[in-house]
Symmetry: none
Subunit: 226 residues, 2 copies
DNA sequence: TTTTGTGTAAACATAACGTTAACATGGAAG
DNA sequence: CTTCCATGTTAACGTTATGTTTACACAAAA
């Protein structure tokens, strides 16, 4: 459910709008970043790799549509959500915006509540599709979609159970999982396995990770840390 | 890639609206079905299992919001797209609609073009497999229009299923596709094929490509890389 | 010291996949 | 209409990766 706060980049040349939107999305728990023109939007997007980009259509130094086209042409922005924001209320722009590859389109004057709802709806849709989110902790990333664990950029391959085990522990860093909990989450409630099964898998994960990030809490269980 | 025309169910109590929307969406190649009230919408949805449902909010025998809540509570409609259609132009309804689990919200008076664009945008997002777009990865080109795969300029011929399989995997490089996903995307939801069918096709693709770019993730599925 | 819980290595069991060959089917060519 | 060929599918068997158990060593707590 939690994972990490999603990053949202908002680009608009009107400071008032930036502020009111930032405030409202921030209140919802999103990490909000801003840009005040098209070029800055592209720049910040490349660095931040946000999950969602909200683009005003009318901006100096590249319009929202141009920014969208440029970003969409790059592989790393294929899946990024994009919402257009605009004063133009004519449908031609709306159609063009959506066909450029935007995921939604909101007309000014903007109601913060409506925008927040639309943002939530978009994320709901996308998340339910991509079962599971990527976990990032320090230099370790755990991506259940690509089924990939990365340490300092080095990809490494875990077996299915190993991955599920690590993903469970890392989903709540610091929290101790009882052996029972681990069993029911990773192995399922009806499966009966021996005592040492968990240890062995823990060991394999530790071994493959190379980093010491799974702590034993004797008599209780295991937790993921650092 | 074709698979099948997507099914869209439209529920509205105004025959004129049903007709104009049906016509416009039909022209886009969708299979359009209609219902004239809430109960009929639910009934037809259960039988048709459409990919998208467009619901008027104000309908006799259950409002659009009620229909949405009922359907969303069932597992088979978790991933179904839902768009609300309404004359109410106040934001309270809009917010409520989106929070009920709708994916979009279009206000009347409806512009058919805008609606069609929004429908297309939604499907684009969900499929996110850029229908009909040439994929280029490294020295490999996959052109679904010409139905052609090129490696270092050498054209090679794949059979239909082989091509669809490759195209699916390559559409999201790095992402692991579960065997289930592959089955439903390439073979369709209602076809029943044996366990080894996918393997055999994977093998044929690997063989024809000559390059090792399809990785097995045991117990999970396959992914395209490099 | 004894007890309890965990780490480790190796052996074992098995599920998942690869590979091949045979059969089925549908359309094209004759 | 028949034959042929490409494709799709299934079945059988081999292979490997993965999961599990066993056995024992070790450490900390009682």
């Amino acid at each position: 459910m939690e994972g990490k706060a999603k990053k949202i980049l908002i680009a608009d040349d009107e400071p008032d709008i930036l502020e009111i939107i930032s405030y409202n999305l921030g209140k919802e728990g999103y990490d909000v970043y801003t840009a005040k023109d098209g070029n800055e939007a592209i720049e910040r997007a490349r660095i931040l790799q946000p999950e969602l980009i909200i683009l005003d259509i009318m901006m100096p130094r590249k319009t929202g549509v141009e920014v969208c086209q440029i970003l969409r042409s790059q592989p790393s922005f294929q899946d990024t959500l994009i919402i257009f924001l605009t004063a133009l209320n004519d449908e031609a722009s709306e159609i063009k915006g959506l066909e450029t590859g935007a995921d939604d389109y909101v007309s000014k004057p903007i109601s913060p509540k409506v925008l927040v709802s639309r943002v939530n709806a978009l994320f709901r849709r996308v998340n339910s599709k991509e079962t599971g989110k990527t976990i990032e902790i320090g230099n370790i990333t755990i991506d259940p979609v690509k089924f990939l664990v990365t340490i300092d950029g080095n990809e490494l391959v875990l077996a299915k159970k190993e991955f599920e085990l690590l993903y469970l522990l890392a989903s709540r860093p610091g929290r101790v999982f009882l052996r029972n909990e681990i069993l029911s989450q990773v192995w399922g409630n009806d499966v009966i396995v021996g005592d040492r099964t968990i240890d062995v898998h823990i060991r394999k994960v530790r071994q493959k990770l190379g980093v010491d990030c799974i702590t034993t809490v004797k008599g209780v269980g295991y937790k993921f840390e650092l």
